[in-house]
Amino acid sequence: MNNPNFDLLMWARGPGFDIALIIFAAGIVLRIVEIIVLGRKKDLAPAKGNGVAQGIKTIFSRSIPRKGLVHYAPITYIGGYIFHLGFFIAFFFFGAHIVFLDELLGFSQWWPEAISFQWPAFGRVIIESAVALAVLAMIALMYTRLTDPVRRALSTFDDYLVWVLSILPMVTGYIAVNKLFGDPVFMLALHILSVELLMIAFPFTKLMHAFTFVMARYYNGSIQGRKGAES
């Protein structure tokens, strides 16, 4: 006799994860290597400023909104921050995720003397508040996307797909941990499967920014820096 929910969970933890990991890892490496190998045309003009310093500075400075823009598009900025922070807190500081990351990247295996290398987990109150705020922020962001005619016109299928794929793991995770409804094993399986969908879409959508933002910001910053401009 089988428990179909458990079979689904084991598929998600086994073959499902393998498939998602292969696409995720190969896709991301492919795109990053492609960008780097393509390279840029050499700038033959004499440098008027320090491109490297300006590039590195820009990696961080672009995380701070330009003056006035927060007033111009408050939901986009504040909602964006809340979503990213909430997602990070839940992803990196929930105990079950920490063991997952540790197992995947092998910190405590490659560095056995530091068996407790794993960073401390946050408590339920922080994690769940972060998730709830992140989900609310995403709903607000979608609201502005749909109601603002300009943003709506600019939105593509990619934007809506990424929104759904990003909100699903948070919603299913919240339901699974709190046993809001459904069989707990089934909800856990759904949570893992939703993450796998996100992993598969990752390299082929704007989600890639999680990896390319550093390169892109450095690139922009260093061009300006070489020209002696602020960025």
Binding site: N2, L30, L104
Partner: protein, 362 residues
Amino acid sequence: MADKPMLPELMKAHGVSRRGFLKYCASLTSLMALSPAMMPRVAHALENAPRPSVIWLSFQECTGCTESITRSHAPTIEDLIFNAVSLDYHHTLQAASGHQAEAAREKAMKDNWGKYVLVVDGSIPIKNEGFSCIAGISNLQMLKDTAAGAAAIVSVGTCAAFGGIPHANPNPTGAVAVSEIIKDKPIINVPGCPPIPVVMTGVLAHFLTFGVPELDELGRPKAFYGETIHDRCYRRPFYDKGMFAEGFDDEGAREGWCLYKLGCKGPTTKSVCATLKWNNGTSFPIEAGHPCLGCTEPDFWDNGGFYKPLSVPAGDYRKLGLAAVGAGAVAGAAGAVLARAGKAKAAAAHENVDAHDLEKKS
């Protein structure tokens, strides 16, 4: 059956007062998740329950389930209930063996045809019937014969309920659960490796008093398998605070923190271990410092490793991941080189055009 004493007489013989009996009925009522108002009915039913003949068949098993039920601390009333049923065949507990024992089984079946309760522990090999036989009769044959006249079947232990350890990969004997073979009788699954003694006696008592209890989709009585261990675990506050033991002998383990990171299956395992506990309510595995193995769930032996946390991938993904990184790097480089070649080609094919040329062309 007429020569067998009813429960009140047995109680008197064992010096159990009526008050003690009613107390037991009250706890049984709550154990079975019935409303307290049902208590008098439970008492009445137990006192007047006809004592069905019970035939206990042991197939591919380790005798752990029998060990467990005989450990239900004597002389509790659970024991009496258990004694009060007429256990007509149980080849671990009975003195007779071989053909004599089989004759006893056949007699009990004949005398109580259509009324006896069949208890099974152990799985049934179907790859080759001869893998497991009792007195020359294969397990499969014995189960089919005995089930034919049973009022209901109680599959005790994970092996009988779901196939259990004999069913684990690669399942050399083709072991299956009782429910895979018998389709036309009510089957109550009481999984666990072994099940908690009180759960086994509780299910029998429920069957004696009210018949087959309410079952979940895996055939388990909801009263005992309705909630996960994680729901009732006394270490849960540590889980909620994010405090985990990382090893069996670190500070967290000594302080009694949550065992999730050591592979605890409590969140996906339905059982009453955390509330009823074992050895007369002394403790349960998590209290003893060991993560839950998930033994009341089908295929618990193959569910990704006892010491692997639930959130960790179960397959051999590392090699695949590294191969994917390598393949991605090669494909990315190749893509970029191709694009560069395309660029160079385009540059080579470039013609210089000035305004005069354009005017000429148009």
